[in-house]
Amino acid sequence: MSAFHDVLVIGGGGAGLRAAIAVAETNPRLRVAIVSKVYPMRSHTVSAEGGAAGVAADDDSLDEHAYDTVSGSDWLCDQDAVEAFVAEAPRELLRLEHWGCPWSRQPDGHTAVRAFGGMKKKRTWFAADRTGFHMLHTLFQTVLSFPDVVRYDEWYVTKLLVDNGRTYGVVAIELATGRTETITASAVIVCTGGCGRVYPFTTNANIKTGDGMALAYRAGAPLKDMEFVQYHPTGLPFTGILITEAARAEGGWLLNKDGYRYLQDYDLGIPEPTPVMRSMELGPRDRLSQAFVHEFDKGRTIDTPYGPIVHLDLRHLGAELIDAKLPFVRELCSQYQNIDPVTELVPVRPVVHYMMGGIHTDIHGATPIQGLYAAGEVACVSINGANRLGSNSLPECLVFGTRAGRAAAVFAGQYGGAIPPAILAQGRDEEDRLERELTRHAEGRERIADIRTEMQTAMENGAGIYRDGDSLAKAADELQELRLRFADAAVDDHSRTFNTELVALLELSFMLDVAESIITCALQREESRGAHQRTDFPARDDEGYLAHSLVYREPDRHGRRVQYLPVTITRWPPGERVYGR
């Protein structure tokens, strides 16, 4: 069976919903559909806390936002993309305001902005510390006002259908019934978010399994800059729940076991009682997470059953400020850590948070596969380079969701029409494969969770905050072995109805591909830049590596090929990253 839509969006989070609206606004005649493995309001955008950057204040400028982003990226972003991004972010945030987003306000009724890490000026819009939640629900509710947007809620996409370098749709499983269907389209936009679950300790939700990255990779699109994995410096120790950077922007301090603001020892500035922009606790995430590792090496972290920690001190901020600006932080600390940040120190440690890399796209969200677009965390345009600044990812979803939606609408308007018979045959093949997977794995002996856990451990040990040639090579070997074991993974659930074990199997298969792409790119990049720190190559090497890695899958022999694409530099030549001085 097969359905047709002009534009099919995979993923119903911030980027996907914004893209769907952009398609509808660009060309109301186009039939748009969103297919998502969860109901859209469950998407991981919901967990974003701190805010969304966009120049708003009189003392700020687009150039300053661009410079902060470029230097934050360790010069690996494309500066044309960054210039477009900073120029369009404020309008997108206003657009969301008009759709009802409950942004926090100044007393005079204008939207408020707060400080954020690596940003020289206050330009981060926020809805208390539930910014992602409010943005997602505003977008979802706005999509409801477009009755022609079709939704496939709780459908899981297993394959992109590509013929002759062009995509024509997907195959997906309806989870409630187990029915598989070929959904054809003139254009497809991938907005499935990140892949934090390839690591053991992450802020990412259970659904963040890199599906879209693997779908595009298997279809022949390159993944870009996959070696750049962001560790957020402040996660709660057992759960990995994020304690937002806004906690430090509002004045929180990071303390080691001696109560000492240790960031001063890592060229991040001198401690002041109140926050200083681009300094100390408001430094960039890569540098802060690296500082934690050095503190651990010096024996100045605190051991807990859930690993070494340092403390985030919010006590001096007082209950009133915390309740007004950081109510979710207080709720999360109380619920998940049994502490009150008004009176107690918050234990934190670095936690995998965000993937700078993703599907290679141009500035319009177009991938090298015709008709295939990507936006949000799943994509790599790149505005984030080697290290994303906090509060740039939410506006990235909006700006590039819109751009991808518009570009896909134009493409679908121009090149709609017949679906090649080869595509429908591919769809049938994939539907048959899914049938076979259930039968084949019914006899399997390996537990899915065991393979997944060992993959996560291999990634943390091999490609953590610091990595080297040996650790990466070992991880590559381990992944190779896990892939063999995966062939023998067991699916005990033989039901068609809401078979979450089958989904876990397919997700694990995607994650193994994504994990290998990370290791491959990290092995090849023999330098240290941003979030990619090679202890065997500790210096940045602009001559060799001021370039994006593009990893291609070589389908014949599970092989991979890496090539490099020069970074686009418009106005800011590579320089030293300076924080706190």
Binding site: A205, T239, Y336, R447, D492, F498
Partner: protein, 247 residues
């Protein structure tokens, strides 16, 4: 503290079971472990066939609502140690058809939600270039509480009216309508009035308050419903007493 606790979990596999049956599992009893951690332990180590929804495990995505020892709860925000020594009974949310095991069908809510028009309605939509619609912090506070709904369905599961009459629009949808009605930027209250004042709307609510007791985000849907009853009643009196132009 014992090092294990028993979870009695409702199983229902359509085509195999004619009705739900309870199945017991022993899971580790550890500090900081949520009910959800117990369920993922079962899934990963004991029985891969158990089906349930979960995602953010930080109480914001709204996926993992279930009935725990008789009460509707977010299982990621409800902890094993609070139920020690157990056993803990985990069942699907009530008042919804069960799809499988702990997974319920929330299609009814998803169809009702758009009927209350939970989006910004303006007589004239100003261009974005003119900047934001001004809204003071006090005006924001008017509706903020009702904007915190995560659509977790605990209120529908707790609602005795919805249990008897599934046509009731229900607590979360009405709270979301009020979230926009009370937003100083919105001008769509009249557009939402028909649904809210229909027999399936606010007047169906008997003000038991179970919805607000169950809400994990303090949205207080019962207050939203009561407040709109007052608005509607006042409007009805005005409509009766005043000539049209003066309403």
């Amino acid at each position: 503290m014992a090092d294990q606790i028993t979870l009695e979990v409702a199983r229902y596999r359509p085509g195999l079971d004619t009705e739900p049956v309870m199945q017991s599992y022993q899971v580790p009893l550890r500090e900081h472990w949520a009910i959800l951690d117990g369920l993922t332990y079962i899934k990963d180590h004991l029985d891969g066939t158990l089906s349930f929804r979960w995602s953010c495990r930080m109480g914001i995505c709204g996926s993992c609502g279930m009935t725990v020892n008789g009460d509707p709860q977010l299982t990621c925000a409800t902890f094993l140690t609070d139920y020690a020594p157990g056993p803990v009974r985990v069942e699907p949310l009530r008042n919804f058809p069960v799809v499988r095991d702990l997974v319920v069908d929330i299609g009814d809510f998803m169809e009702k939600l758009p009927t209350v028009k939970p989006w910004m309605i303006r007589d004239v939509d100003s261009p974005v270039e003119e900047g934001e619609y001004l809204q003071t912090p006090e005006e924001l506070d008017e509706y903020k509480q009702f904007s915190m709904c995560i659509n977790c369905m605990l209120c529908y599961s707790a609602c005795p009216v919805y249990a008897l009459d599934p046509s009731f629009v229900g607590p979360a949808a009405i709270a979301l309508a009020q979230r926009y009605n009370l937003d100083s930027r919105d001008e769509g209250a009249a557009d939402r009035d028909d649904v809210l004042t229909s027999p399936e709307g606010i007047w169906a609510c008997t003000f038991v308050g179970e919805c607000s007791a169950a809400c994990p985000k303090d949205v207080d849907p019962a207050a939203a419903i009561q407040r709109y009853k007052l608005t509607a009643a006042t409007q009805a009196v005005k409509n009766f007493l005043l000539p049209r132009g003066a309403r």
